[in-house]
């Protein structure tokens, strides 16, 4: 049987990567319990939240690991790979040192598409989604362009290491400027272009996940995600409002 410290390390690393990649807390707790049981540890307590993970193994002489979750971003390929790994472990628990290495490889694996493609797919998703919230076909191109500019703003924000809220504020303002330009020169309508600009940033998924977590009884997770969503939407809206005010439209 593998030592508790090693198994704890496997469980904590897998959980940390899952949470960092945007997996739901209930599923994370489920997967980690199964990994611990695969190694013969049935006394396991797991408490996962979007910002931290706590794992305890053993009942009388127990060991605990705490991991802080930073830099959350949805990465479905990692969730998929860890899930596959956990299935393999349930069938045949490999030596922990090998598994740790496998988890590190998953953390470092290259995304399925090259990095330059992501801004393009973001922009396409934003423009297509704008059509669904009431944009007309002639707004598709302007909405796409506005989104590209907004993503550019976020890149600058990242390289300057400013807080995310600053980027969201600037994004809201950028979307308004793009929309003003698009209505003047491209004949687009104002609101859909603003919506398209910020579409990928509005935290709809976070809102929904927050309510779902609350329903499932994961209240800490619900509060964390809900607050994250409120902060984000407030920053975006203040950016838009500030730009509207500055251009005399408010």
């Amino acid at each position: 049987m593998s030592s508790p410290a090693q198994v704890l390390s496997v469980v904590a690393s897998a959980g940390e990567l899952l949470l960092r990649s945007g997996a739901e807390v209930a599923r994370v707790e489920d997967t980690l319990t199964r990994i611990a049981q695969a190694y013969g540890y049935y006394d396991v307590e797991i408490y996962a939240t979007p910002t931290g993970l706590f794992v305890t193994l053993g009942s009388e002489r127990h060991m605990t690991a705490i991991r802080r979750i930073e830099g959350r971003a949805i990465a479905l390929d990692r969730v998929s790979a860890i899930n596959a790994l956990s299935r393999e472990l349930t069938a045949d628990p490999a030596p922990p040192s090998e598994v740790i290495r496998a988890i590190q490889n998953i953390a470092n694996q290259a995304p399925p598409v090259p990095n330059w493609a992501t801004p393009a797919t973001n922009a396409v998703a934003a423009a297509a989604c704008t059509m669904l919230v009431g944009g007309s076909l002639s707004d598709f191109g302007p909405a796409l362009l506005a989104n590209v500019f907004v993503q550019g703003v976020h890149r600058v924000r990242e390289s300057l290491r400013l807080p995310e809220a600053v980027g969201d504020f600037a994004s809201g303002a950028t979307a308004v400027v793009c929309a003003l330009a698009a209505t003047r020169w491209l004949g687009a309508s104002f609101t859909p272009v603003v919506a398209g600009g910020i579409m990928v940033l509005v935290p709809g998924i976070a809102f929904t996940t927050s309510v779902r977590d609350a329903m499932m009884g994961d209240l800490t997770s619900a509060a964390a995600r809900g607050l994250e969503a409120v902060m984000k939407v407030a920053s975006l809206a203040s950016g838009v409002a500030a730009a509207l005010y500055a251009t005399g439209r408010l």
Binding site: G22, A23, E24, R27, I74, A75, L76, D77, R78, V79, S80, N83, A84, P111, P112, V113, A117, T118, T121, N122, V124, A125, A128, C129, M131, L132, V133, L137, A195, I198, M199, V200, V202, P203, G204, I205, F207, T208, T209, S210, V211, R212, A214, M215, M216, A229, V233, A234, L236, A237, S238, V240, A241, L250
Partner: protein, 136 residues
């Protein structure tokens, strides 16, 4: 009708943005298309948008469970992109904008709507796993 194509496109594109494994991307798009149909058809028949959101999310949840089983991917791969066309981000944003403009009545209306809409989505999404997932 064109909107169904845009729903597919939204979900497929966002699946790629979220680093989804490429072989599962068309299925994510499909989940988005089906979810949109689940929302759009009831709304066109005159039912309230919140009910449409519930049915749409229910469809996304069922599609997610079935696709996940078939393609051996986590449900997240289909549920997150599939839900994307339905999420209430824009209503929430309009509510916040109303707040910034000092129109508190409109803000209260939009933000309350967001809450109920998100609740409907979450409820719809929570049901399929409860019924379709094998208990161990």
């Amino acid at each position: 009708m064109l909107n169904y194509l845009f729903a597919f496109l939204t979900s497929a594109a966002i699946a790629i943005s979220f680093r989804g494994p490429l072989r599962a991307v068309p299925a994510s798009g499909l989940a988005g298309l089906l979810g949109w149909a689940g929302y759009d058809i009831p709304v066109r028949l005159g039912l309230p948008a919140t009910l449409g959101a519930f049915i749409g999310a229910l469809v996304v949840g069922v599609a997610g469970e079935l696709l996940a089983r078939r393609l051996r991917e986590p449900t997240l791969m289909f549920v997150v992109p599939g839900l994307f066309p339905l999420v209430p981000g824009i209503i929430a944003y309009r509510g916040m904008l109303n707040l910034a403009q000092g129109d508190y009545v409109a803000a209260a209306e939009e933000l309350t709507r967001t809450l109920f809409y998100a609740g409907a989505l979450a409820a719809g999404l929570s049901l399929p796993p409860a019924f379709l997932r094998r208990r161990r």
